[in-house]
Amino acid sequence: MARIGVFVCWCGSNIAGTVDVKKVAEEVSKLPYVVYSTDYKYMCSDPGQNMIKEAIKEHRLTGVVVSACSPRMHEVTFRRTVQEEGVNPYMMEMANIREHCSWVHDDMEEATEKAIELVRMAVAKAVELEPMEKIEVPVTKRALVIGGGIAGIQAALDIADGGVEVILVEKSPSIGGKMSQLDETFPTLDCSQCILTPKMVDAAQHPNIKIYSYAELEELDGFIGNFQARIRQKARSVDMELCNGCGDCWNKCPQKKIPSEFEAGMSDRAAIYVPFPQAIPNTPVIDRENCIYFQSGKCGVCAKICPTGAISYDQSDEFITEEVGAVVVATGYDLFNTDVIGEYGYGEIPDVISGLQFERLSSASGPTEGKIVRPSDGKKPEEVAFICCVGSRDDKYGRPYCSRICCMYTAKHAILLHHKSHGSQAYVFYIDVRAGGKGYEEFLRRATEEEGAIYMRGRVSRLYRDNGKVVVKGADTLSGAQIELHCDMVVLANGITASPGAEELARKLSISYDEYGFYSEAHPKLRPVETNTAGIYLAGCCQAPKDIPDSVSQASAAASKVLALFSGDFLTREPNIAEVNPFTCTGCFTCREVCPYDAIDEEEVTVHIDGKKVTRTIARVNLGKCQGCGICCAVCRSNAINLKGTKDLQIFRQIKAFTGSEKEKSDEPVGSKK
């Protein structure tokens, strides 16, 4: 027989001011199975908790109902209390008579009546509670980092420094991400390459880091602590072991007219290439779509010329499976495609360029060796217009959000123009300037006050060519004047969008994303680097647009989460997960269809029917994957799957108790518990 003790808390006057706690304690003492009930000023205090412990001893309680604040506040506290007295922690149930009662009602009689009902429901559930044990799952102490931009590199380095092996998977031929393409960086103007390349080298040389570049995640199986990552190593067509990076191949390759991705199309590369001289690894890949040999079977120059015989045309994609315990997703971002804004003529007017192209123009390692010139004629631009919020904060393009970095990189561009192209004038068209980071406002002031940039508030309506110039038409919304500015070059501060393939990757990982394709954190404030799938963390711009300092901070935070996860040999998880009754499960697998976490496995069972052995396939819940949502339970046609801690019977008891159909002790006992 269940023996329940009920403890009604006053919470000072928070509860006792509105609820007649004495009456509650007295009324519920009449309920079936309640062998003890009392009230006290502060149940969560030391004396309060001791009262519970004493009562457990004295009245041999098997279950406890604490009628106090929200379980979201103190469930953990009281579970620990009963556990300390040898009662299973999951035999404690709370009735929320503060947040859901005393704080929202002010008529004492009504509030007391409701409190009694709430406690009655909690008692009914408590009678049906079952002891549960936390689930222990072993942990594979290796991490997978997806994406090798600054965020991925930082996360990999931090985890590796913590003594854990890291698999870093990067889609493109080299790690480095967007930061490798930048010139100097706001707000300090330190050179991006100079601070990034040493980190890239550290990652490559770290004994705990294994880099797969030109590779992608094909599939992720398993669950927290126990993932299996299937990685597709795309065929480089070059043997990594043999290649020494001499560069003969790309110098001699006859196919040289392919717009370079790294140079944002500002110069060309060969069909066999490393994206940039500091690339890691420094082994080229053959871009098969543009390679003459792969397209027509002729050529073969690189194979003939390679001094080490590293070219391997018949390489094919390889698949590798790596066991890992945690995943950090750091797949970064893409830039808003300005082609869709017809009025700006991007792609048609050669002197209208993107922010990233400006970075390449300004970079000493770029196609012009850092000379800022017009793409159309190579001349120095005297007047340059910068347009902010291109594709950001614009419902027309389905992007109401602020891209966060464009205001700052535009200010940086204006400064760089002033530094590198003496006498040139920068005009900045903005909507609002957002300079919220450390040192940002000062940086912006420097652009306008010291470096002579002229800021004008307004959206540009049209760009067109006239006599070798680009005409900027728009309105200055502060003065109301119409503006027509004849410039030599226009730089569009295109906004940030989710990285290509973000949604597909999210599906492979079972993580959620917002309507723009950015990955969703588990809680916007309190769990900013976790996803809703246990064991998968986020870093950098894949979660939302951010600058380098924020990307790095989030990466280090994700790394510390991974290291904390790996600090024990086992993971303990809450036991409230689904459970299949093998006798009633028919093997229809409706549950598998609805489970958001792919947590339903198959199990073969042998049963005897009429003396014959029959093997059946039924459902089994995967302890690691199940998150305890209970969606499966509501769809199972044979009622064969139930959620521990929220079982059907427990709910039915609550429903019955609520309507008061079992108020008095004289009633039939409600519980089936012995």
Binding site: C101, N532, N576, Y597, C629, G630, A634, L643, I655
Partner: protein, 150 residues
Amino acid sequence: MADAETTAKTKKKADRTGFEPHIIGFLCNWCTYAGADLAGTSRIGYPTNIKAVRVPCSGRVDAMYVINALKNGADGVLVSGCHPGDCHYNQGNYYARRRFMILREIFSAMGINPERLQMSWCSAAEGAKWAQIVAQVTEKIRELGPFEGI
């Protein structure tokens, strides 16, 4: 909002006449239950008629719970979860929405007023909205009168 709030706060049991509905609310732990907690912390008053049962997700709520509640003397049932797209378990509330739309149709066919089953979305940040939901749902069920049985 202010109206519902003040009426709820000032309307003492003694002033009320007639039928007080019994309503059971199945509240998802991550959004509505937390939203109801917030109504408490912010001391936003509402009627006492709804008693909450905490479930992990609105998708956990079996159609049988609703039927069982009505069968056992509830006059109305409220299922409330996270806003579409915000379910802690990604899509639980979509399943709930579909399930209860169908159940409401079945109710109609059986001659039970489908309004006995109410659904709402309320986030953890919407304490005031929770108070409003309770006031509205209570009013709705009060209008329908006592449930006479299935």
